[in-house]
């Protein structure tokens, strides 16, 4: 796991932060991130402006995202290499959780069927 030292401290990401990092695979400003996240989560995740601004400030100071441009007072950010490593590690954990959960539920379903 070379290059992954110090990544642990950023995990687990909150749902909002996870979606923000996913959005910033391409450069985007705050309002675009709000719209994108709402769309890809089918409206399940909405980002308030306070939540978004706070996350941008924190992620920028942790160097997980970086400012790329500024237009009409809207700053655009993009994920950094470090941000990608954090996102990849979070994704690995989520996949492990999803797989474990699916297996447990499938087993539970099988024993339910046996009892019938």
């Amino acid at each position: 796991m070379a290059g992954n030292e110090g990544i642990e401290k950023y995990l687990p990401l909150s749902e909002s932060t996870y979606y923000i990092l996913v959005s910033l695979i391409e450069p985007m400003h705050g309002y675009a991130v709000m719209q994108y996240v709402e769309a890809v989560s089918s409206g399940a995740v909405t980002l308030g402006p306070g939540t978004l601004y706070g996350a941008f400030s924190t992620l920028e100071s942790e160097k997980l995202i970086v400012k790329v441009s500024e237009e009409n007072r809207r700053k655009s950010y993009v994920i950094t290499a470090k941000g990608r490593r954090v996102l990849a590690e979070q994704l690995r954990r989520l996949e492990l959780m999803a797989r474990t959960g699916r297996m447990a539920l499938a087993k539970g379903k099988a024993s339910e069927d046996d009892n019938e």
Binding site: S14, L47, G48, G50
Partner: protein, 176 residues
């Protein structure tokens, strides 16, 4: 214009922000819309049509160069920036406009805001310490020393209450 304006005094402690929001919403429903907040709890209102308006307070110490971008993020989400006082930002939005009337959409960011408030106020504590030491070392007479001492311990008491109140709120938010 001056006839349709008014001021009102009302004191809110820093941990009473939700009470303050509710009060401002109540004022708006009577047609008094916030213009600015001045020192010692002096609120300036413009008299107009009564409205269903949500007020929300953020606490973000902003650098001068970040202010415009910050306000723009809120504006894009439909929140009007009203004013700023001591790092508190006042926003409002017509409730009828849409259902979303929160500037923070998760508990993590609500906790982060409370921590900003705690950290900023804690960073001022050494200033009070230095002032107190300066006064007690300056041989300015007994009455003055008593006054300075009372003031200092009053401030210290305020800090303890503030930290306890805010910590309790953070704890409550963490339970969800």
């Amino acid at each position: 214009m001056s006839e349709s304006q008014g001021t009102k005094r009302r004191w809110f402690w820093p941990w009473q922000d939700e009470k303050e929001e509710a009060w401002l919403t109540g004022m708006a429903s009577q047609g008094a819309h916030l213009i600015k907040v001045e020192s010692f709890g002096r609120y300036c209102f413009a008299q107009g049509e009564p409205g269903d308006v949500a007020y929300r307070l953020d606490y973000t110490p902003l650098k001068k160069q970040d202010r415009e971008g910050y306000i723009q993020v809120f504006a894009d989400a439909g929140w009007e920036f009203v004013c700023e006082k001591n790092n508190w930002q006042y926003f409002r939005k017509g409730i009828a406009a849409d259902g979303q009337a929160e500037i923070f959409s998760d508990n993590e960011s609500k906790i982060a805001r409370l921590k900003r408030l705690q950290n900023q106020l804690l960073s001022l504590l050494p200033v009070w310490m230095v002032l107190y030491v300066a006064v007690t070392q300056s041989n300015t007479g007994r009455n003055w020393l008593i006054f300075a001492g009372a003031l200092f311990f009053g401030v210290l008491f305020f800090y303890v209450i503030l930290m306890l109140k805010i910590s309790a709120r953070i704890k409550r938010l963490r339970q969800f």
